[in-house]
Structure formats: structure tokens, C-alpha cells
Amino acid sequence: MQEKYVAGVDVGSTTAKAIILDMDRNIVGKSLQNVSPKVAEDAETAFLKACQDAGIDREKVVLITGTGYGRLKVRFGQLIVTEISCHAKGAQFIFPKTRLTLDIGGQDTKAIRLGENGEIIDFSMNDKCSAGTGRFLDVCADALGFSVSDLGPISEKSRRPVKITSTCTVFAETEVSNQLARGRKPEDIVNGLHYSIAERSISLMRRVGIVDEITFTGGVSRNTGMVRALEDKLGRKINVSPLSQWFGAIGAALFALEELEKGSDPKFMPMEVKQ
């Protein structure tokens, strides 16, 4: 049999991620890149980079699923699935006992509750406001002169987290600078930011019901300080994986694979017809 692959391309608001799976569900290639204004090109680049990473020809990839905020821009794909389904699927693939996924991405936060067989029971997400999302951390990190990848390690030193009262990202940015001017320690401020987001996320999770196991996905799950704050507030451990940011893409690739296995025509989702 000819060598075949499937791909999932997750075009988020901030980053584009791609995953290549072989027919045995092994991840053979992945990529991550920032989203520029040229979303369609970024999607394609992410895909090509993943092919490169896998060391395969793009022609070998027989079915591609697009997902994420910019899913309609994955014009070279055949399937389109919302990121909610994909994150859930990806999380369950890596952590099979997942019953609740928390996805904090660049511009949105979602809580998804899953059933025994991975079916989505319920989900909720935040609304058109950047408060409580990755962007909130990006902006505040900037104001403190850190890069987001520093936030985790820095907050580790914190003893007394500063309470951040503003929910609006813009006000929080000012608040952060003021706190700094008042001589509060950067680590305490960063930790305060983490707690503030943790609180908002938990309230979102409560909307669908907090049940074990919880898997944390999306770019913000790479922030170890966020993981700590969440675990502290929830009083339990949560799953995180180095692949967390790719869960959406992994889920998307799995959808492609399942379709292929079903032998069905890739006219699966009605999404592709409209823009």
C-alpha cells in the first residue's frame, strides 16, 4: 500500500499550527508559526513546514482538516471542523480520560466537557473581549518588559501575589505599571495576573461542570505559572503536555483520519460552502 498521511491545520488568532499523522496515528510532523495578516498564506506555510518536519512530500497528505478561528482560510484542505470539536478530540487522544478541556488561546478561552466516548456534552466560551485570554498576558507581559515565555519561571519566585482588580486588558496594563511604580515585585504582579485569569477560567469551567480529568490546552498552557495558579485554585492536578498548543491541530488531523477510515467522501462538513 502506498504511504499515506493526513494533516490538521489549526489557524488560531495568534498562531497557526499544523500536525501530520500517519495512518497508525503517529505524529510524524508538526509546526507552529505566528499568524500574520496574510492568514491563508500562514496556514499554507504552517502545513508545508509540518510536511518538511515529517520529511514527506505534500502530495502524500491525502486529507487535510482546517480548524480554528481562521479555519475557512485553509483553502487547500477538504474538511472544516470547529476548534471546539478539535481541541476536545486532541485532548482525549493524548489524555484518554479527559472529561473537561480548558483551552486558553490568544483571543479566546473555552471550556469543553466531554463524555466517556469523547463526545462533547457541553461547552462555553468567553465573548468578544480580550480579558482573560492569552492576549491579556501578552499585553501585561509587554508592560512589564517580559516575554510571555518568561512568565512561568518568574512567577515561581512569588510569595505574595498582587491582586489585579481590572478585568479589561487595557486597564490591567496600566494597573500593572502602577503596581510596578509602587514598588511591588514583578513576580508578585505576574502571579497576580495568573490568578486573575485562573479565576475567570474556572468560572467558565463551572458553567459546564468541573469533572476529572481536566486537560489544559492552547498556547497559554505552556505557561507553567498559569498551570500552577489553576491547580492551586482548583485544588487538583490538571493534565498538560508539551504538545498542548497542538491539540487542536491533532484533533483536526484525527478527524481527517477517521473520515478516511470510514471511506467516506470528504464532503463531510457543510462549512466549506459558505464564507
Binding site: S13, P37, Q107, C129, T167, C168, T169, V170, A181
Partner: protein, 264 residues
């Protein structure tokens, strides 16, 4: 008699020295950085320097703005809504304003005043920064147009591009998208001004938009803001650069009033 009004805002600190309630003999402005209390002192000292006056020659100091409680030297602190109303009334005195729109760094407020400049009604943004000056500052940063050039650039626009996102932060993505589609920066910037004007319009309608609107706050320096407001509100909005000092002037004038009372 000399009174000082110091307006410690979230973005900038402004101060004036007023002689006999009428004549502005010194003014100063600086971005607010570090401790608001120190900022206020700095501005005050600058005022003394410009006017060549001695500290003891200033009869009364009134502070206002978000940092009003932090200025040690103050004799009184007054809320920035009150002072903006009074100050704007004074600055625009020949036109007898009753509706004032104050857009500052983080705030936007619609204020209705009576004959004397007393506030009768006001509405303000509360938790969301989408309609405030900060939005423009952020745009300046990621569109790489310096603040001094923002308005000038926007004024060149022939086809303003609407911003649909309501969030000052999330609209970044949209704006960057516009850039990539080759939409000229000036049209995008004008769109940003229009979106702020839209929000201001809603605020104004909540206190009833039934009179000419007078602008106060830092955005008076931006003709583009006025242009956007003119269009959105469908009227000629009145704006002069001096109105950036509305709150400071209002504070100094109310300080004068207090002084008169005390002296009696």
C-alpha cells in the same frame, strides 16, 4: 491672587497657575510616570519656574484627576468631572457650552453642565477602554505611526475603514488584517477615530445629544478626532487645544472660589 490647578491623569499630568481667576500665567504638562504624588510636585515646580514665582506666592493649590489624593501640597482635591466641567465652561465661555465630551487616556465622559458650569448629569465608560485615548496609543504602537503624526495621517483618509471589533485589544488583529489587505494606514486610523467617536456618541446620547458638543481632554490635539466626531454626531464639534487643560483650569478656578470663601 494666584491659584494652582494640578490635574494628575492616568496618562499625563497637567498644571496651570491662574491669576485672579482669569489669567493663566503658566502651564505645564508631562506624561504621568512613576508616583503620581511626585509627578504633581514636578509639575508644580515647573509652573513656579515658568512664572518665576515662589512657592509662598501661590495662595491655593487644588488637585484633580485620578491622582488627586496623592499630591501632598494640595489644599483641596476636586473630582475631575467637576473640574473639567468648570474648566471647559471657562475656556469656551464665549460660546456658552452645555455639553462636554472629555476623552482622556483611559476615560471617556459625557458631561452636561448648567449656566455656571455646574454638573447636572454625566455618563462615563466604566470597565472597558475601547473608547478612550489608550486605543489610539496602542494603534500608534503597532501601526508604527508616532503619536504626533497620528492625527495628521488620519486626516489624509478618503475612505475610512470601519473597525468592527468592540475590544480595543482585539481590534488589533482586525487592523493588521486591514494593513495586509493593502488598505492605506490613513483609512485605518480614521476608522479607529470613527470607532471612538461612535462610542462617544452613545455616551452623549445617554445624557441627550441636544446641544453643540465641546471637546475636552488630550484628544483636542487631534483634528482627526474632531473630524470623526463631526461626522458621527452630525454636527460641528468644537475643540481648542487649550481644552486639554480643562480640568487643571477648572481646579484652579474652584480653588479661587474656595479662597474667596475662606477669606470672608
Amino acid at each position: 491672587m494666584i491659584t494652582a490647578g494640578i490635574d494628575i491623569g492616568t496618562g499625563s499630568t497637567k498644571g496651570v497657575l491662574l491669576e485672579d481667576n482669569e489669567k493663566i500665567i503658566a502651564r505645564a504638562i508631562k506624561p504621568t510616570k512613576g508616583s503620581p504624588g511626585k509627578m504633581a510636585t514636578e509639575i508644580f515646580n515647573e509652573l513656579l519656574e515658568t512664572s518665576k514665582l515662589d512657592k509662598g506666592e501661590v495662595d491655593y493649590i487644588a488637585s484633580t484627576g485620578y491622582g488627586r489624593y496623592m499630591m501632598e501640597e494640595r489644599q483641596i482635591q476636586i473630582s475631575d468631572l467637576t473640574t473639567t466641567g468648570r474648566g471647559a465652561k471657562f475656556i469656551y465661555r464665549d460660546k456658552n457650552p452645555s455639553l462636554i465630551l472629555d476623552i482622556g487616556t483611559q476615560s471617556s465622559r459625557a458631561i452636561r453642565v448648567d449656566e455656571r458650569g455646574k454638573i447636572i448629569q454625566f455618563k462615563m465608560n466604566e470597565r472597558c477602554a475601547a473608547g478612550s485615548g489608550r486605543f489610539i496609543e496602542r494603534c500608534s504602537r503597532y501601526l508604527v505611526v508616532p503619536m504626533e503624526k497620528i492625527s495628521e495621517t488620519a486626516m489624509k483618509s478618503t475612505d475610512p475603514q470601519k473597525i468592527s471589533s468592540v475590544c480595543a485589544v482585539l481590534s488589533e488583529t482586525e487592523i493588521i488584517n486591514h494593513v495586509s489587505q493593502g488598505i492605506p494606514v490613513e483609512d485605518i486610523l480614521m476608522g479607529v477615530f470613527m470607532s471612538i467617536a461612535d462610542r462617544a456618541g452613545t455616551l452623549l446620547k445617554r445624557v441627550k445629544l441636544d446641544a453643540p458638543v465641546f471637546l475636552a481632554g488630550g484628544l483636542v490635539h487631534m483634528p482627526a478626532m474632531k473630524k470623526a466626531l463631526d461626522e458621527v454626531l452630525d454636527q460641528e464639534v468644537i475643540s481648542v487645544p487649550e481644552a486639554h487643560f480643562s480640568a487643571a483650569i477648572g481646579a484652579a478656578r474652584l480653588g479661587y472660589q474656595r479662597l474667596q470663601k475662606i477669606k470672608k
